[in-house]
């Protein structure tokens, strides 16, 4: 039986098929490793969760939104500071104690605000600092496809290896396919700029390690409650007190612009921040799933190394057989040739 239509008979030494079988087994091992890797790392479960996380973060990871969050914090800070200083002085003169006693909810908030502001601003700085990293990861193919990037070439390689173990004389024909497959594995990470983007993804994952935790989310939920109470005290107690003291809304606006601005923008701040807290909360499990995967910077090498092995084996297999063929041809020039594919 011949190797297939159009195949030319190859003169090989008797020991060459055995050698090629070994090469084919080696390729099979690489193929099997590629197939097994996504299963071993639970990629089929974790990668889609990563895709969900990336999609849910998308509306927030823009310069406009991130700048907006920082601005929200500045508006709150300015309003609190002005209420605590200018408004307190206007309502209670020099007596801060009297002001605090009259507005205990605000007083509690005022004490807690510096820590809240510091934590939230640091958090937003970290998130904003990772905007570029997020964009780099977003530019990669969807996380959902990642397991298949291993499984498909792995399965293909495995199939070719099985074929070549059974039919070592078909090596030459499949050698080109193997080289293409190997080169594709080597080139794919470069084509997708994985060498630059994957480390950025790693940086983002590291930065979010302390952000995407249940404990942190609950802390921010607590801050939200505190801020809502504090703003409520400004809106429903302090501003009415200013009005009772004889200030018209326009006067409050001109004399205490930061307080008025916080009041005016509070709903916008809630509109802005609440969905972000929701996205943070909803993605704790997704983040943890992704963080259980191998470090991002290793991913390009998960393609390159098998690619190098596959291409190398394909080339080596061809080279050694050619060399042996030459040796065999020299020593057995007048012997009866063996034809490829003859069973």
């Amino acid at each position: 039986m011949h190797g297939g239509p159009g195949s030319s008979p190859e003169v090989v030494a008797p020991q060459v098929p055995q050698l090629r079988r070994r090469w084919a087994v080696a390729l099979g091992v690489v193929g099997l490793a590629l197939v097994v890797m996504p299963l071993a790392f639970n990629m089929f479960s974790a990668a889609p969760k990563g895709a969900v996380m990336m999609a849910q973060f998308k509306p927030f990871m823009t310069t406009t939104r991130l700048d907006g969050f920082q601005q929200d914090l500045r508006v709150i800070n300015a309003g609190v500071r002005q209420a605590d200083s200018g408004v307190a002085a206007a309502l209670h003169g020099e007596s801060q104690q009297s002001f605090d006693a009259s507005f205990p909810t605000f007083a509690v908030f005022d004490q807690q605000w510096p820590a809240i502001d510091n934590t939230m601003t640091t958090l937003m700085d970290e998130v904003q600092g990772n905007q570029g990293n997020y964009e780099a990861i977003s530019a990669l193919p969807s996380f959902r496809l990642f397991p298949w990037f291993f499984v498909i070439p792995g399965a293909l390689l495995l199939a070719i290896a099985v074929l070549l173990v059974r039919r070592p004389t078909w090596w030459r024909r499949w050698r080109a396919v193997l080289i293409v497959l190997g080169v594709a594995l080597i080139v794919a990470p470069a084509a997708f700029q994985m060498f630059a983007r994957a480390p950025k993804g790693g940086q983002m994952m590291s930065a979010f390690k302390h952000i995407e935790t249940t404990q942190n989310v609950e802390r921010i939920q607590g801050y939200f409650g505190t801020m809502a109470e504090g703003q409520g005290a400004i809106r429903l107690e302090i501003v009415p007190a200013l009005e009772q003291a004889g200030l018209a809304p326009a006067q409050i606006h001109s004399e205490f612009p930061a307080v008025a601005s916080l009041d005016a923008q509070w709903v916008h701040i809630l509109n802005d921040m609440t969905p972000m807290i929701g996205a943070m909360s909803d993605n704790v499990a997704n983040y943890q799933a992704i963080s259980s995967l191998p470090p991002f910077p290793l991913f390009p090498w998960f393609f390159v190394l098998p690619g190098v092995i596959v291409a190398g084996v394909a080339l080596a297999g061809g080279t050694s057989s050619s060399a042996r063929q030459r040796v065999t041809a020299t020593s057995t020039a007048r012997s009866v040739p063996t034809y490829q594919g003859v069973s």
Partner: protein
């Protein structure tokens, strides 16, 4: 044949034992579904005493008795953890049918416009309200219309479709949750019913699953008078 002749009486014995050991199932089966409108009494505060229909929100890791409770600055009570409700256009909760969100469900500020069960109430400067929808807007799951059963003055049932809307977000606040689970502090609906006066008290808790208030638990306390649907006594 011998095997079968043993199996049949065994099954009868098991069924009898189950009915004895499972009084809840038996009583639910023997209860009467109250189909109509649970007309709500408006929430009210007098000093530290709170009555009528109200809602409280418990922080994650808290409990129903001691909280920690979320303080709503817009509450009319001195204890800001109570958010009072006022009856909506339908007078309250209607069982056996849905009272869905309007379209649009929110105003430009994110305040809920749903007003059939309760009137929208301020919650940290943005109105929130309640609706019951065939498809729960938070989870996207199909949920049954509310059902409440009276068993000798004790109320049970389900309000799986009970959904709060606030700040352009939805929070399922039903019990059980869509799909039938009771996560965290979610407790089944319970209450009392006076068949003579039709006065009722309904309470349940529902843990928020997902979103910015994930892990918070809503405590719902509804009081009022039940008005049966026409044709039902």
């Amino acid at each position: 044949m011998k095997f079968r002749s043993v199996l049949v009486p065994l099954g009868v014995v098991v069924a009898a034992a189950a009915s004895i050991l499972s009084p809840q199932v038996a009583s639910a089966a023997s209860g009467q579904a109250l189909v109509g409108t649970f007309k709500l009494n408006a929430g009210s505060c007098a000093g530290y005493s709170v009555g009528g229909t109200y809602f409280r929100m418990i922080f994650p890791n808290g409990n129903v008795k001691t909280g920690k409770f979320f303080d709503n600055p817009d509450s009319l009570c001195s204890n800001k953890s109570y958010t009072l409700a006022e009856p909506g256009a339908d007078g309250g909760l209607v069982t056996g049918k849905y009272q869905p969100n309007p379209r649009p469900a929110f105003n430009a500020q994110g305040g809920s416009l749903a007003n059939l069960i309760v009137q929208p109430q301020g919650f940290t400067a943005i109105n929130f309200s309640i609706a019951t929808n065939r498809i729960d807007p938070q989870t996207g799951k199909s949920v049954p219309a509310p059902q409440i059963i009276n068993t000798k003055g004790k109320l049970s049932g389900q309000v799986e479709a009970w959904s709060a809307a606030w700040n352009k977000l939805y929070f399922n606040q039903g019990s059980p949750k869509p799909g039938g689970a009771h996560p965290g502090l979610t407790l089944p609906l319970s209450g009392t019913y006076n068949a003579r006066t039709h006065a009722f008290v309904l309470t349940w808790t529902s843990q928020v699953v997902g979103g910015p208030f994930n892990g918070f638990t809503g405590y719902w306390h509804l009081t009022g008078t039940f008005v049966p649907s026409k044709g039902r006594g």
